[in-house]
């Protein structure tokens, strides 16, 4: 008997069909990978299982018995446990308290912490999930918090464990230890659903892969018979290849940074950074985050003005600390944190699209926003940049990560900036969206823009950059053509050992 079965589950939000007659079967003892792009409906499906949403049609069976819809308690009691992408833990409470919440009758006069400690210790031993029960959740690492989430589910005797994008927040070492845990869980007969859009992980950890695309089940394959290209094509619906830059002759200098030094925290502040970005050129900045990327981005975006040294755009000093002047001088900005700095989630899409040129005649007249023009322009940009949404009036926070990034691209690139700061532009995006963002950046390069690409992904930097410089402890190495250094060499420089070369 299957551990869990979805039968024709359909869920609509307004005109958007998030799940379209999804049917899926999971057997005990297997790891099923649920693959799909952002916005394909994976999380919605799991939210229906957990009663956060109610399906419009269809039913869910656990161990052959139908599950009451709209009830989290029913799902938990049936033995379904979920590890959410954004952990549902309270930072100010201890590990033990977080695990015990909801496991005892609310009206009981005391908590049986002794029994709970014993049970947690036994699970920690059996599954290799070591964690200090008395530590405050706010004090432990992200990897440990995830262990707490898994323990929470196991503590409730979960037989089916669902992990939503579990590796998004983990270091490679923590991810490996998670995979080992999943193995030991399935050996004990648990069924695991592993939600992800990272193909190499899915191939490494799962027994079977089910693919969702635009809310519908595309099909399922046995992992050992599948390969990356096949899965990518099932997920996106067409063959996706990441774009490759054409060789191009660098033009005149656009941005010239000379001896830039910022004050503040030692490792994250810039020390004597010099760099020139030319037209038709992408300069990659490699480095472990926290080594000065933020300081560099803040100066170039106009968010910081306290620095020494000079920054020149087209030969004139950059208007430091004045974001609007910087944008008007031809800088396009793609910020690192889409949600915090890129958009205002509670505002509508058209509002976010005009937020960089409120004073422009294109969207306003005498200081009053011209709704008609703004909406018309937003519609055009939405179409041009393929932002999938209900329309310009939709709330921006409802967009998936990829579509939110497309919105930011639309805002920044529609102005045809001559210099683009792209800070981690593809972090957290799926394959289709990554290829899209990269294509757009290469188009801008072909048009003659100079681009500074800050990234932690060396493969991405090697593929796109004309030249690469490494940022470590606030010092920037010389920017050399990307063929001139190996990935291993750059890795050493990122760790602060500059491979015999003096930091420039």
């Amino acid at each position: 008997m299957p551990a869990l079965e979805f039968r024709g589950v359909t869920k609509r939000f307004g005109s958007l069909t998030a799940n379209d007659a999804v049917s899926l079967v999971i057997e005990p003892g297997e790891v099923l990978a649920l693959l799909g792009e952002n916005g394909a409906g994976k999380t919605t499906l799991m939210n229906i299982l957990f009663g956060h949403y109610q399906a419009d049609q269809g039913e869910i069976l656990v161990d052959g018995k139908p599950l009451a819809p709209g009830s989290t308690q029913a799902a938990i009691n049936a033995g379904v446990g979920m590890v959410h992408q954004h952990f549902t833990l309270a930072a100010n409470l201890t590990v033990l308290e977080n695990i015990m919440l909801g496991t005892e009758g609310l009206w009981s006069w005391r908590q049986n912490t002794k029994a709970a400690r014993d049970k947690i210790a036994a699970m920690a031993r059996d599954y290799g999930l070591q964690v200090d029960p008395d530590a405050l959740v706010g004090d432990i690492s992200v990897g440990e918090r995830q262990r707490v989430e898994i323990l929470k589910a196991l503590y409730r005797d979960a037989r089916i464990l669902i992990l939503d994008e579990p590796t998004a927040v983990l270091t490679p070492q923590e991810a490996d230890s998670l995979f080992a845990t999943l193995k030991s869980l399935t050996e004990k007969g648990l069924a695991v659903i592993f939600i992800s859009h990272k193909l190499h992980e899915i191939l490494a950890v799962s027994d079977r892969v089910a693919v969702l695309r635009r809310g519908a089940m595309v099909g399922s394959v046995v992992t050992k018979d599948a390969d990356k290209a096949q899965l990518a094509e099932m997920m996106v619906g067409r063959t996706v290849t990441r774009p490759k830059p054409e060789p191009m002759q660098a033009g005149k200098a656009i941005l010239e940074i000379s001896r830039l030094t910022t004050s503040g925290d030692s490792a994250a502040a810039l020390a004597d950074v010099s760099l020139t970005v030319h037209a038709h050129e992408i300069i990659g900045i490699a480095g472990v985050s926290g080594n000065g990327q933020q300081a560099l981005a803040d100066v170039l975006c106009g968010l910081a003005s306290g620095f020494s040294g000079t920054v020149q755009l087209h030969g004139a000093p950059l208007p430091a600390g004045r974001p609007r002047a910087i944008v008007n001088a031809g800088v396009g900005r793609i910020p690192e944190d889409r949600h915090a700095r890129g958009v205002v989630g509670d505002m509508e899409i058209w509002e976010n699209l005009i937020s960089e040129d409120l004073r422009s005649d294109a969207v306003s007249r005498w200081g009053i926003v011209d709704r008609g023009r703004a909406t018309a322009r937003a519609e055009k940009q939405i179409a041009e940049f393929d932002v999938r949404c209900e329309g310009p009036d939709a709330e921006t926070k409802l967009l998936s990560g990829g579509n939110m990034q497309k919105l930011i691209l639309a805002r920044a690139l529609s102005r045809e900036p001559s210099f683009i700061l792209a800070n981690q532009p593809v972090r957290g995006l799926d394959e289709g969206a990554i290829a899209y963002v990269q294509e757009r950046l290469l188009e801008a390069r072909a048009r003659g823009a100079g681009i500074l690409l800050i990234s932690e992904d060396l493969d991405e930097l090697m593929a796109l950059s004309d030249r690469i410089a490494v940022l470590s402890h606030g010092r920037l190495s010389e920017a050399l053509p990307s063929e001139a250094r190996s990935i291993a060499e750059i890795g050493l420089m990122m760790a602060g050992q500059d491979g015999g070369e003096k930091a420039a």
Binding site: N47, F50, H52, Y53, S71, T72, Q73, A74, A75, I76, N77, M82, H84, H86, T88, L89, A90, A91, N92, L93, E97, N98, M100, L101, G102, T103, E104, G105, L106, W107, S108, W109, R110, Q111, K397, L398
Partner: protein, 315 residues
Amino acid sequence: MSDIFEILLTAGFWAATIRIVSPLIFGTLGELICERAGVLNLGIEGIMTVGAMSGWMWVYQGGGLWGGVLFAACLGALFGLLHAGFTVHLGLSQHVTGIGITLFASALSYFVSRMLLPSATTPPKIEPFQELPIPVLSDLPIIGEALFSQSPLTYLAILAVPVTWYVLYRTPLGLAVRMAGENPVAVEAQGINVLAVRTGAVAVGSALMAIGGAFITMSWFDAFYFGMINGRGWICVALVIFASWRPGKALVGALLFAGLEALQVRAQQSAGAFIPYQFFLALPYVMSILAMVVMARKAKYPHALLVPFRRGERV
């Protein structure tokens, strides 16, 4: 200086401190419970007024003293439910709703008392709670009279501190309340109804506030006057922050404030000749602001305080 030490050695000072602290303890614990569940309750000033009026009126109309306390608690809980309806279920601004509740509840209390006693020129006194000396302990010098010969409501206030602590930290219900104030999504994910937990916490907290108000008319002034709560509710809101949302520290903070208040009244009498009395009036408030500055810097806010929870909404 020596004057102050003399004051500290009088039984009258300690008795006054304990009397002043009792309503503050009820109010602070009540506010603390609300905020631990994630709901700021600025209705406290008005809810204390309701408690003061209703307890006194109950007794004046011939009811028993304990019946009056219960009546006040029930009305307090009712206003708590009103606050929860707006803030928890409808997700409206907790600040605005709380101030609205305070205005509404205070005005209603004065209105009802005038309606019921249209011909009274001064509010009639009731027979208040009598001191209940605890045998043996109350015979101790100075502290005996101050601590162990008090109104039963004072004993109840002091008892409420460990009880609140136990419920919050040692029972599954308390865990759910604290979790609702930290991360309501986590509570929801465990199949517990966040809205019910928060509503319950606000109702219980408001009932405690109302008992605090009832203390003032039933065990202190023996009658209900206009403006008699006099900002005590706001002091409780500040004390919760001072206490970093912990019941034990709340007791310490309330005692500190009450001690200063009792001290200033006596200091006015002894030093009033050469220092303006307004200086002493302001003293407890100045001191509490200073204490807040020191204490609140490392305070651990409930993370979800002021954040409404809506089921099934994408974040």
